[in-house]
Amino acid sequence: MRETVLKDVFRAFLAAAAGVLFYSLAGSAGPSVLVVLNAFSVVVVYFSVRRGEVFGAFLGTACGLVQDAFSLSVFGLAGLTKTLLGFFTGYVTRRIDVSPFPRMGAFLLVMSSLELAAYVLLSSVVRQEPVQLHGGLLLLQPPVTALLGVALITAERRLSARRREP
């Protein structure tokens, strides 16, 4: 049990580092890619579904603070919204069966939409300025996060099922 947790902590650290790397390398592909895809949200939803609410909340805090440290937004804003995203994604996954592909997709879409809504709302309140929607591109962030989250979770499940086969 302890070994699995440590393995997941290590994997989560690697995934967060991959998120940082994404923001380093994706710039040359154009700013639109960076607006549409929030790599840290994908990391948080993936591990929250796997490990539950407490792991999700702490990972959300870590990923959110890293995101804030590499941006000019208010430090702690993404930390707060990603903590809530991690906690509630893990919490609901433990209580409702969201394993089927369409149900998981819809669930992650709702969670990432709520996260974006919370970020936009908090940002407007704290900064007293409207959040830049980049011509509506920002609204594509929740579907992209949900799609990537579902793809990762499905791939991981298929891989582990194949490993279990004799």
């Binding site: 380093s24 040359s28 700013p31 805090t61 995101q67 440290a69 590499f70 000019l72 830049q132």
Partner: protein, 280 residues
């Protein structure tokens, strides 16, 4: 059963939320321009990871390009030689023009000093919340980078200025497209003076140009005035993209500016020496 055992997860969430609320509260109202020690610490810890990861990826890419993918190098070399020829001509022309104003020895000395103080840097990260706000460079205080130094792209166009945090080997740059950025500019032809302010989007506003002022055409180039003591005078900033009427602010003209710098050419940049008397 104690409350902690029954409601452990909810209490943990409440603790984390409280931590973030306190963190956000101590930064509001903003406007001091300095970052908290905690924020700097997170940047100091994670920026070397970012630097190492980018370095590895670039190393692999460079290895591939240098040893395996040599196709087209001859053609590229020919094009570079052509380009160098024209650049030399331009440089000679500019030196001739400068000699009209100053003695040659003074020009050489000034060019040499400028070259020594220039810090070439590479971009290792883009703002994770809004790409039009900031960048992370692979040069820090050990390389001579300080706060409030102008940053230009490889074509000499203004990109932004260095801001806190500046760590030992990395530094953050506020882009001119950031909504909190202000650059004093002058238009090249009609000499309109104003302040280029970002919108955290691809275009900027040219503010504080009175509605009674005449001149200014779409496509006219804008360059820095140097009055803000951060950006040296004469740096190309962008061009006027549109001139509109703003009913909400009838006293001023609404002018949109398209910055010259492009994200796809932002791999290498130059950090310029600090302007005399700049805020350090």
């Amino acid at each position: 059963m104690p409350l902690w055992d029954r409601r452990r997860n909810i209490l943990l969430l409440a603790g984390l939320v409280l931590f973030h609320v306190v963190l956000i509260s101590i930064q509001v109202p903003r406007g001091q321009g300095r970052k908290s020690l905690f924020e700097k610490s997170v940047f100091f810890v994670f920026s070397p990871i970012q630097r190492a990861a980018v370095g590895t990826v670039r190393g692999v890419r460079s290895f591939w390009l240098n040893y395996f993918d040599l196709r087209g190098v001859r053609q590229e070399n020919r094009e570079l030689k052509d380009s160098l020829f024209f650049l030399r001509q331009e440089s000679r022309f500019l030196q001739d023009r400068l000699e009209l104003y100053r003695a040659e020895s003074q020009i050489r000395e000034s060019l040499e000093r400028f070259r020594e103080e220039l810090i070439p840097a590479r971009v290792i990260g883009i703002d994770s919340a809004n790409p039009f706000r900031s960048l992370v460079l692979d040069k820090g205080s050990l390389d001579g980078v300080k706060r409030n130094m102008a940053v230009c792209d490889k074509f000499g166009n203004l990109v932004g200025r260095t801001i806190d945090p500046v760590s030992l080997r990395e530094a953050m740059v506020q882009l001119i497209t950031d909504q909190e950025s202000r650059v004093n500019v002058i238009s090249v032809t009609d000499r309109l003076v104003g302040s280029v302010t970002g919108r955290s989007s691809p275009v900027c506003d040219l503010r504080y140009v009175l509605a009674s002022t005449t001149g200014g055409t779409v496509g006219e180039a804008l360059e820095t005035t140097g009055h803000d003591r951060i950006y040296p005078a004469g740096l190309p900033v962008g061009r006027i993209a549109a001139i509109q009427k703003d009913p909400s602010l009838p006293l001023f003209r609404k002018i949109l500016v398209q910055p010259y710098f492009q994200f796809n050419t932002l791999d290498a940049v130059a950090v310029l020496p600090q302007v005399q008397g700049a805020d350090k």
